[in-house]
Amino acid sequence: MEIKEKVIEKILLLVALSSIAVLALITFFIFEQGLPLIWKIGPKAFILGQKWIPSKGLFGIFPMIVSSFLVTLGALSLGIPLGLACTIFLCEWSPPSVGTVLRPAIQLLAAIPSVIYGFWGLVVLVPLVRNYLGGPGLSILSGSVILGFMILPTIISISEDSLKALPPSYKEGALALGATHWQTIWRVLIPAARSGIVASIILGMGRAIGETMAMIMILGNAVKMPTSFLDSARTLTTNIGIEMGYASGAHRQALFATGVILFIIIMLLNSLAIFLSRRRTG
């Protein structure tokens, strides 16, 4: 029996390793395809370059890095207040009957394909922005609003978990000391669950930076430095998504190189999230 168990153990190990192998392969190919171009034109010219004109050999992705962060910032400024308010309501006030409806509904937000978000944004939100605020409508503002809704499930589910994981004595103690319910939440529970909430926000940020399909449809994809929230913009992901089909040679490598930068940004964000959520227990 010992042998059989060993065999099964080894097989399971192999299966587990194979899923990591996929990650390793993806990493390897992105870097193998992208790095040569970054070295050729110089990391500084690539990352800080202002112009992206592949047909002329100009590969500067700085406007896209800025746009990626602007869109994400916009999404967070909508997603954080909404998400936190929703979490607090779910944990502290909602009667069980409301919670049983609300929770699956929020999870459903995560299950909607991003192309549907994009389509909805294009048909409903973009004309509203164009008619009432001006500009082409396909803009950072429209993209931010859509992304803000898309990251809600991430923020709500993880920060709810971290609020629920708090020892009940925190709340009981605060209430016993005469704090109101709201004071307890705002002064005791939220600060105590801070690291988990921050981790949820950073994971939401990672989701926002990585979103592609909806952004291709809503941002307008102009390759320029955005000057206002009503400007069209192109993020790192949409740059890859929109030009992949027709790219060849150095242009194709440049798209992989864009992927390298994106990969590094997302790795940093996820490591930060893991670090912060570990600190909670430590």
């Binding site: 992206w52 004109i53 994809n221 102009a222």
Partner: protein, 282 residues
Amino acid sequence: MKFGNVLGFRIWNLKILVLCLLSFLLIFLPTIGCQREKAGITVAGSTSVQPFAELLAEEYMSRNLQSHIYVQGGGSTAGIEAVRTHAANIGMSSRALLPEEKDLYAVTIAKDAIAIIVNTKNPIQDLSLDHVRLVFSGKIKKWEELGAPPHPIVLVSREEGSGTRESFQKFVMGKEEISLESLVQDSNGAIRQVVSNDPHAIGYISLGLVNEQVKALKVSSIEPTLANIEGGKYTLIRPFLFVFNGEPKGEARSFLEFVLSPPAQELLSKEGLVTTLKLSGK
């Protein structure tokens, strides 16, 4: 006791094994079946050629019930790449082959005009080629400079590497660059969608895909009609290519022969393309 455990373990083990086998069979059996029964060919590439190829494939399949032709998009370069790696039997390209692609075998199946389109609410009917160039290079930024009600012009362009964009660059822009301010969409349909929604937008798409949602402008007073294209007056035309890896053989050859035959060419002509019949007759 021990025996029972052993037996239980064996039965469990057997079940897993059978399940694994079954799932493998489920996955692979249909594909084996497919390969045996459907000797289909894959046509992949330019999204400009795609709708016409779909139409042709449908017609071809209704005449040859045994045949299966799968039409996919992806872009001219992706299609050419797919032919090179044998992932597709036929590649569709909406631009001439680049020097490094000349080892492949290309056949012009038709020619297509590029139409300059604006929103149906736009009063402008006619722009000179110079004006189109000034608009797309960003030197004319407002509609009032062209005699329309005052509003900033919203440019809509294709992504770098697109066959339509390359042809537009060549025939209209010349040495001028398409403004980096322009919105970028990754298909003819997406440009048509944006232009049909935004009263201030101007874009360019394949003439065959112009419909009642948008208005095709006269260029230097010449209307983009079949008669004008065939007469050589309307000059914004580019080739639609079928690309093969070596001499076309078998099903791919008979599909090509069908595409070049008079009934199929008439079909393309009805859809607004300039057919090879007319071209060779000229």
